[in-house]
C-alpha cells in the first residue's frame, strides 16, 4: 500500500495521454454517507428510476447479485448465488489476501492523475468474483450512483471469472435527477481465467456537466472469452476512456462493442485496445457512433504479436444533426502471419432507405427512427437475453430523445 501511495503521489499532477485535462481541485471528494439498505425497494423512487435506466433492477428479479454505491458509500452488496462473491472493495482489501493480489495488477496506479486519485482517495467500488467452475446464470448488477453536487467519485472495481466460470455483469453508472456537475473516476480490472467467460455490459446515464474518466484493463487466459459492451447515449460533458485487454492464453477471445451518442455539448473520446499475445487468439472491436450535435472520437487499436491471430475492427458513424465524428482505427502487426482488418465509415442517413420505408407506410420520422434503431442494433453473440433487453431499452430511450 505504501509503495502504491508513493507512486500515486508522484502522478498526482500527471495529465492523461489523451482527452481534455480536468482541474481536480474544482471538485469535492469528501465522504458522503448514505445508510446501508437491506432491501432495495427502500430506495427513493426518483433514484430508483434513474438506476432502472442504467439496467439496475431494484426487485433483483433475474439478477444473481447486486452492488449499489451512492456517492462514496456502499448502500447494498450481496450475492444470491453460491459460487458468486459481491464484496465492497475496501472490505475485500481488508479481509482477503487474494483481493490484494488483484488490486492494481493491470492498471498502473501512476498512469495519470485520475488513477492516482483512485488510490489516494478511494471511495470504495466492487469486487465481483465467480469461483472456479461456477456458472452464474443471471447477471450480477452494479450501480455507481452520484447524487452529491460537484462530487469527484473515485471507485475501483475488480471483476474476476475464475477457471471455467461463467459470469455476466451489468453495471450502470448514473447521476441523481438534480445533479449537474461531477466527476467519476472508475478503475476496473478484469481477470478472465482459463476457459472462463465474462460479459461486462456498462450503461452510462450521466448529467450534462459530468466529467467521466474510466480506466480499465483486462486479461484473458487460455480459452477464455471476454465480452465488453459499453453504452453511452445520454449527454455527458466529457468522457474519455480507452479500455485495454490482453489476450495472453491460447485461443482467448475478446470482443468490444460500443454504442455512443454525442449530444450537443458532449464530448466522447472512447476507444478500445486489444493485444493479441498468444496463438489462436481472436479480437473484435465494433463501434456505432451517432452525432446529434456533439463530438465523438472513436478509437480502436489492435495489436497482433503472434502469427495466425485474427482481429477485426469496425467503426460506423452516423451524422444525424451536425457535430463531429472522428474515427481513428489502428492496426499493428508485429510479426508475419497476423490477419487483421478494419472498416470505418462516417455518413448520414441514406435518403433511399427513408423513401423505401415510407413506401411501406412509415412517416419520414418513423422511417428515420427505424433506420437509427437498426444502426444501433448490433448482434452480440453470447450475451444473455436479459442484458440484450437492457441494451435495447437504453437504445429505445435515447432514440426518443434523438428524434
Amino acid at each position: 500500500m505504501l509503495e502504491l501511495n508513493k507512486k500515486a503521489e508522484q502522478a498526482k499532477e500527471k495529465k492523461a495521454a489523451i482527452g481534455p485535462d480536468i482541474d481536480l481541485t474544482s471538485f469535492t471528494s469528501e465522504q458522503v454517507s448514505h445508510g446501508y439498505l437491506e432491501d432495495l425497494t427502500q430506495l427513493p423512487d426518483e433514484d430508483r428510476s434513474r438506476m432502472i435506466q442504467s439496467g439496475v433492477d431494484a426487485s433483483e428479479s433475474g439478477r444473481s447479485g447486486t452492488y449499489i454505491q451512492m456517492d462514496t458509500s456502499v448502500v447494498h452488496a450481496h450475492a444470491k448465488q453460491e459460487g458468486l462473491q459481491v464484496i465492497p472493495i475496501k472490505q475485500a482489501l481488508r479481509e482477503f489476501e487474494w483481493a490484494r493480489e488483484y488490486y492494481w495488477k493491470l492498471v498502473a496506479v501512476d498512469a495519470d492523475k485520475y488513477t492516482a486519485q483512485a488510490q489516494l482517495n478511494l471511495h470504495d467500488g466492487y469486487v465481483i468474483r465467480a469461483l472456479p467452475g461456477s456458472k452464474v446464470i443471471y447477471p450480477v448488477q452494479a450501480c455507481l450512483y452520484i447524487d452529491k453536487e460537484n462530487l469527484s467519485q473515485h471507485v475501483h472495481n475488480l471483476i474476476i471469472a475464475e477457471e471455467g466460470a461463467v459470469l455476466h455483469v451489468i453495471t450502470g453508472c448514473a447521476t441523481g435527477p438534480n445533479l449537474k456537475r461531477g466527476l467519476h473516476v472508475g478503475i476496473s480490472e478484469f481477470f478472465v481465467k482459463k476457459n472462463a467467460t465474462l460479459s461486462f455490459t456498462m450503461i452510462h446515464n450521466w448529467a450534462e456537466e459530468m466529467m467521466v474518466r474510466p480506466r480499465s484493463v483486462g486479461v484473458v487466459e487460455e480459452g477464455g472469452l471476454f465480452l465488453n459492451n459499453y453504452i453511452c447515449m445520454r449527454p455527458v460533458k466529457s468522457l474519455q476512456m480507452y479500455p485495454t485487454t490482453h489476450l495472453v492464453g491460447k485461443g482467448a477471445v475478446s470482443r468490444f462493442y460500443s454504442l455512443l451518442v454525442g449530444s450537443p455539448g458532449s464530448e466522447l473520446d472512447v476507444g478500445g485496445r486489444i493485444f493479441l499475445k498468444a496463438e489462436d487468439t481472436r479480437a473484435e472491436i465494433i463501434a456505432r457512433a451517432i452525432s446529434n450535435g456533439g463530438r465523438i472520437i472513436s478509437r480502436g487499436d489492435l495489436i497482433g504479436e503472434v502469427p495466425g491471430v485474427k482481429a477485426h475492427l469496425e467503426c460506423r458513424g452516423l451524422m444525424l444533426k451536425g457535430g463531429l465524428i472522428h474515427a481513428i482505427p489502428e492496426l499493428r502487426g508485429t510479426v508475419d502471419g497476423v490477419e487483421m482488418s478494419h472498416e470505418a465509415a462516417v455518413g448520414k442517413i441514406a435518403q433511399d432507405e427513408i423513401l423505401y420505408l415510407m413506401s411501406r407506410g412509415l412517416s419520414e420520422l418513423e422511417a428515420t427512427s427505424t433506420i437509427v434503431r437498426g444502426f444501433l442494433s448490433v448482434d452480440i453473440p453470447g450475451l444473455p437475453p436479459q442484458l440484450k433487453a437492457e441494451i435495447d431499452r437504453a437504445v429505445e430511450m435515447s432514440e426518443k430523445e434523438l428524434m
Binding site: 441514406a350 433511399d352 432507405e353 423513401l355 423505401y356 420505408l357 415510407m358 413506401s359 411501406r360 407506410g361 412509415l362 412517416s363 419520414e364 422511417a367 427505424t370 433506420i371 434503431r373 437498426g374 444502426f375 444501433l376 442494433s377 448490433v378
Partner: protein, 251 residues
C-alpha cells in the same frame, strides 16, 4: 381505380415521361413493356410518389382522389405498394421487422414467409447480400404483408432462377387475385367481378406472362405510351420485330 392524365415527369432537367395517359380499372392488371431507358421504372416510381421524379404537368388519381402531390407514405396507406428491382439494404433492420412494418398489425410472419420460401431469411438484415431472386421473394413477402390494392412490379422476374420463377409468378398471381386454382367452379366472369386488386407489371423477358394473366399490355417507348393491346400479342410482336417496329406497326 388508377387514372393517369397527361402526365409529364422530369428527373433533374431531363424530361422522361411525355403526355402519359393510363387507366387501370378495379380488378385489372396491365403489363408495361419497353426497352431500357424508356421510362418504365420512372412511371412506377412516380405513381409510388418518389420525390426525385418531378411531375411538371398532369395528374394521378387513385380511388377517385388526386394523389399527384401526396407523399409516398400516404399513398402506401391508400393502398399502393411496389416491388423494387434494387431496394436498399438497411443495416440492423431484420427482414422480419420489415414485414411487420408492412403489415401494420400483428401477423404470423413465419407462416407468410413459408409461402415464398423465405423463412430462413427472416433474421437477416433486409436486402443485405440478397441475390436477385432473394430480393424478389423478399419484396413479394413485404407486399403480401402490406396487401395493397394497386401493386406495382418492377421486373419481378429479373435475376430469378428457373426453379423460382414459378413460385414468383404464382405468388404475384395470388396477390392480384388471379390465382385460378382457388375456386375452379367460378366462371371467368365471376372471377373478374370478384377481383378488386389492380396491377401494373414491368417485364423485360415476358416470362411472367406464363404465370400471370393480364388484361392489357402497353408499350412505353421513349417516354411515350405507344400502344395498347393484348399483352401476349404485344410480346410476340416485340419478339419478332423488336420495339421500334412494334411501336410503328401499332400506331
Amino acid at each position: 381505380m388508377l387514372r393517369i392524365e397527361d402526365l409529364q415527369v422530369k428527373i433533374g432537367d431531363h424530361e422522361v415521361l411525355k403526355h402519359i395517359d393510363l387507366e387501370i380499372k378495379q380488378g385489372e392488371t396491365h403489363i408495361l413493356f419497353g426497352p431500357n431507358g424508356s421510362g418504365k421504372t420512372t412511371l412506377l416510381m412516380t405513381v409510388m410518389g418518389y420525390p426525385q421524379y418531378t411531375v411538371t404537368a398532369g395528374n394521378i388519381f387513385f380511388k377517385g382522389e388526386d394523389i399527384t402531390n401526396l407523399p409516398l407514405n400516404e399513398r402506401a396507406k391508400m393502398g399502393i405498394g411496389m416491388s423494387y428491382q434494387r431496394p436498399p439494404t438497411i443495416h440492423g433492420l431484420k427482414t422480419r421487422q420489415m414485414v411487420e412494418i408492412c403489415a401494420r398489425e400483428k401477423i404470423d410472419v413465419a407462416d407468410l414467409a413459408g409461402k415464398v420460401n423465405f423463412t430462413d431469411f427472416l433474421e437477416r438484415d433486409i436486402n443485405a447480400g440478397f441475390s436477385g431472386g432473394e430480393i424478389k421473394r423478399s419484396e413479394l413477402l413485404q407486399l403480401m404483408a402490406q396487401d395493397p390494392d394497386l401493386l406495382l412490379f418492377d421486373e419481378p422476374e429479373s435475376g430469378v432462377d428457373l426453379e423460382n420463377i414459378a413460385l414468383i409468378g404464382n405468388s404475384i398471381s395470388r396477390l392480384l387475385q388471379r390465382d385460378f386454382h382457388v375456386d375452379p367452379e367460378m366462371t371467368q366472369k365471376q372471377k373478374k367481378l370478384a377481383r378488386t386488386k389492380m396491377g401494373l407489371i414491368i417485364t423485360h423477358t415476358g416470362f411472367i406472362l406464363d404465370y400471370v394473366t393480364a388484361d392489357r399490355g402497353q408499350v412505353l417507348y421513349d417516354g411515350v405510351m405507344s400502344c395498347k393491346s393484348n399483352p401476349q400479342e404485344i410480346f410476340n410482336c416485340i419478339k419478332k420485330m423488336g420495339y421500334e417496329e412494334c411501336v410503328r406497326c401499332s400506331n
